[in-house]
């Protein structure tokens, strides 16, 4: 096995294979990383229900196994959990599953020395998007006529969102759901990074057979993760088929096209400067100063924050300085993960606001954050 290889793989443990997604490879890679002492701890998402997952940090293999399975309606970014690991264990080693937005956040934090990337094993997860849980529960009742409590499994396959209960399986196209106001989170719709090529190894079901994971190995660490799991007898592998590779390429290309279409639809340019000013002012005036958007932002790395220090609730500004500072400060590092919008109690479309700013800045400097260790423009000193 070599860097650059594309293979299919699956767990040899029957329980993990059954409970985990696509043959349970990711769970087995994580458990192998602990068993083989590649890492001290693992971050994983513990399933509470199909609509709720809680991130845990653990060195207990059994706990990792309990985290098997994918949760598309639990949109969590794990970056800050990785930051906290390195705050507690500066010399520790860590493994975690990473959607593209997790991985991009982690790389931006690594540039700011909050995460040691050399000691972090990133098991990438191909991602077609995640869904907001409460809206998804409503969608199940209205569009699928399924009681959310009855759902035992959900899956995204060939552009369709599938929900399974003990009695039935229903699939509706994501396009139809999103036209009706359901489906994926808004930022996921226009996200063009579906395969986390910045991780050590990317895993997904595109191009894989039943109970298999399609795997791409990108780094030495990725190779080490795979070999470790094979040596421990926890996984099996086979070469990817030509047909599988084509399906994977085609699916990715379709997803990118859909994302571009959504981007065009959502980011209608506001050419007039005054109109643009009023657009920002109007939505930001609802802010209630909770600072949740900063707390959850995977690329925010400030201990002493300029956005908070410069802000005074006594000011009579229509837009708080807090937001103005944040708009500028993360314009080169915003990855559009949508976490800020998710947690905003005033429903301010923060991700769109930040992306409107970031799209221009990042295009100007030809810089895409979170894709590699290339430093952001604001770090450059001439």
């Amino acid at each position: 096995m070599n860097i650059g290889d594309r293979i299919v793989a699956w767990s040899k443990d029957e329980e993990i294979k059954k409970e985990g997604a696509s043959g349970g490879l990711v769970t087995s890679l994580l458990t192998a990383a602990l068993k083989g002492e590649l890492v001290d701890e693992v971050i994983a998402l513990q399933k509470v229900s199909e609509f709720e997952g809680v991130p845990i940090r653990t060195s207990n293999v059994d706990e990792v196994i309990k985290c098997s399975g994918s949760l598309h309606a639990a949109p969590i970014n794990l970056t800050k959990f990785a930051v906290r690991f390195f705050e507690a264990h500066p010399d520790g080693t860590l493994a975690l599953p990473a959607k593209p937005c997790d991985a991009r956040g982690i790389i931006e934090q690594a540039k700011r020395k909050k995460i040691n990337l050399e000691k972090t094993y990133l098991i990438g997860l191909n991602c077609g998007g995640t869904m907001p849980p409460i809206t998804t529960m409503k969608m199940l009742e209205k569009m699928y006529e399924i009681n959310p409590d009855d759902v035992i499994e959900e899956e995204i396959e060939r552009g369709k969102l599938i929900f399974k209960t003990e009695k039935e399986e229903k699939a509706i196209s994501i396009d139809e759901l999103e036209e009706a106001g359901y489906g994926r989170r808004e930022n996921c719709r226009y996200c063009e990074t579906n395969i986390p090529v910045m991780t050590d190894v990317a895993c997904g079901n595109w191009g894989a057979g039943k109970n298999e994971t399609f795997v791409e190995i990108f780094t030495e660490k990725g190779l080490k993760l795979m070999n470790n799991a094979i040596e421990l007898g926890l996984i099996e592998t086979a070469p990817a088929t030509e047909k599988g590779i084509k399906i994977r390429e085609k699916t990715n290309s379709v997803m990118e096209k859909v994302a571009k279409k959504w981007h065009k639809k959502i980011f209608v340019p506001i050419e007039d400067r005054l109109e643009r000013f009023h657009y920002y002012m109007d939505v930001m005036e609802d802010c209630i100063d909770c600072e949740a958007c900063k707390y959850v932002c995977p690329v925010c790395a400030c201990d002493e924050s300029k956005c908070i220090d410069f802000y005074d609730p006594m000011d009579s500004h229509k837009i708080s300085i807090y937001h103005l500072v944040r708009l500028l400060h993360i314009s080169d590092s915003c990855i559009g993960c949508g976490q800020c919008t998710d947690v905003c109690p005033a429903e301010i479309p923060l991700t769109i606001l930040h992306r409107r700013m970031a799209d221009r800045i990042q295009a100007k400097y030809d810089y895409i954050p979170g894709m590699d260790m290339k430093i952001p423009p604001s770090f450059e000193v001439e």
Binding site: S49, V54, P133, D342
Partner: protein, 457 residues
């Protein structure tokens, strides 16, 4: 991580908590979103067991509390509802052992649920949703986006409202002539504004009222404890020596705007305080019992809609009350038996946070709307979070007209005088506040009530 309910108010926002906080995006009321208070939950200073201001072993403090309860006649028990239903029920049982009742200081009432806001076409609001109950804002925004007309009756312009009717203490009777029709009404029911909320509740269809309350489990507390006295009545009765002992469970009488009323506490033979946070009330108490922080314990909470929610902390919050009962030779109580009794009283067999059960809490109005003379007024625009002493807003809000007439300049101070003395405070200029009104999010020492007549000097 513990799945808990935010103790900031009675909205019932769900979140996760251990040494850090995390957002619970499938929580039914808040979808994981939190206000500034919720965001700061993990920064509390814990109370310590104390007798006479000195730290003691918890077992000694429990024995001392038990002894005082047995010795002292005319004990009053107060729990606003900052504890779980199980703790509230245990407290009610404890009160009954000395022939007393638990006072919640808020009348029992359950109004409409959140879905009703989202489906409304006409909304009349009496709160500032940006500061008072911020997690209600998103539901109002949703309704507005779907075409609802929002009318606000408040002391200043409310941004979300299509029409803001600015209230003035001198014309407070204006609220008597509101035509509510089938409008959904959003109201704050708290111990300080009962005469105001009475007026509204009596004037409109009660099924159309979204009745927000300031304490974690205000609704559950009303259901489980029958005492019907206001905090003002209790303080008066202490002053008149009708109440000689007071046991406060996570309830701080310092919420009353006039600090002079609190001098009644000095007339008590014994003050027992059971609370999680250390503050000046615990300094004032004869006995301090350190409660688990609400988000550390497990139990049931009933939010403003009457929705039963579970807080899944590690500890059983009833431990101290149970120990006191045991120490007094009374029947012990267990969490499991209390929980079963709570479910039975709620008329449910299990908690489903996505279903709002039916409740029949009858509202019993008692007070009349107060009248205010002409002149200027200081209005204490309290929020539940300020009562929890976590948000610092050390300034008042005034109109541009008032700032102009007093020739105030940036970074200056506003000087006010009431019958209790003078104060000079920082100010912020906001839109459409009457020129004779000063809005204060903090309690000022010159306050005599929620609305205090003042002069500018």
């Amino acid at each position: 991580m513990n799945k808990i309910v935010c103790p900031g108010c009675n909205l019932g926002c769900g979140l996760y908590m251990n040494d850090v906080l995390y957002f619970r995006k499938n929580a039914p009321v808040n979808s994981g979103k939190l206000c500034k208070f919720g965001m700061k939950l993990h920064k509390y200073e814990k109370a310590l067991p104390m007798i006479g201001g000195k730290e003691e072993e918890l077992s000694n403090v429990i024995s001392a509390a038990s002894k005082k309860l047995a010795e002292t006649k005319d004990f009053a028990f107060v729990s606003f509802g900052n504890v779980t239903c199980e703790e509230q029920l245990a407290f009610t049982k404890l009160a009954s052992t000395v022939g007393s009742d638990v006072y919640t200081c808020i009348p029992g009432f359950v109004g409409a649920d959140i879905e009703k806001i989202r489906q409304s076409t006409e909304i009349i609001t009496f709160i500032d949703p940006y500061t008072t109950y911020p997690l209600i804002l998103r539901h109002m925004l949703y309704a507005k986006e779907n075409g609802a007309k929002i009318t606000s009756y408040y002391w200043k312009k409310i941004r979300i409202a299509d029409e803001s009717v600015i209230l003035n203490p001198t014309e407070i009777d204006k609220i008597k002539s509101i035509d509510f029709g089938d409008s959904l009404v959003i109201l704050d029911l708290n111990p300080l504004n009962l005469e105001f909320s009475n007026e509204i509740i009596n004037s409109c269809n009660r099924e159309n009222i979204v009745c927000l309350k300031p304490f974690l489990n205000s609704t559950g507390a009303s259901l489980l404890s029958g005492g019907e006295k206001s905090i003002y009545q209790i303080l008066d009765e202490i002053k008149e020596k009708k109440i000689k002992g007071l046991y406060l469970l996570e309830s701080d009488p310092r919420i009353v705007p006039d600090d002079a009323l609190l001098s009644a506490l000095d007339k008590l033979d014994v003050l027992i305080v059971q609370q999680s946070a250390h503050n000046s009330l615990s300094d004032r108490a004869n006995i301090v019992l350190p409660n688990d922080r609400t988000f550390e314990g497990k139990g049931t909470v009933l939010n403003f809609e009457g929705r039963a929610l579970e807080t899944e902390g590690k500890t059983e919050g009833i431990k101290i009350i149970s120990e006191i009962l045991k120490s007094a030779g009374k029947e012990e109580t267990s969490y499991d038996s209390l929980h079963a009794e709570v479910l039975s009283k709620l008329g449910i067999t299990e908690i489903d946070e996505y279903v709002v059960p039916e409740h029949n809490l009858v509202y019993k109005p008692e007070t009349e709307l107060k009248k205010y003379e002409g002149g200027s007024h200081l209005i204490y625009v309290y929020t539940p979070f300020l009562w929890n002493n976590t948000i610092d807003r050390d300034f008042v809000e005034i109109s541009p007209g008032l700032a102009e007439s007093l020739n105030l300049h940036k970074d200056g101070l506003l000087k006010m005088t009431s019958s209790k003395g003078s104060a000079a405070v920082k100010y912020k200029i906001v839109e459409d506040v009457p020129d004779n009104v000063v809005l204060s999010p903090m309690k000022l020492p010159i306050s005599t009530d929620v609305i205090t007549p003042i002069e500018f000097k």
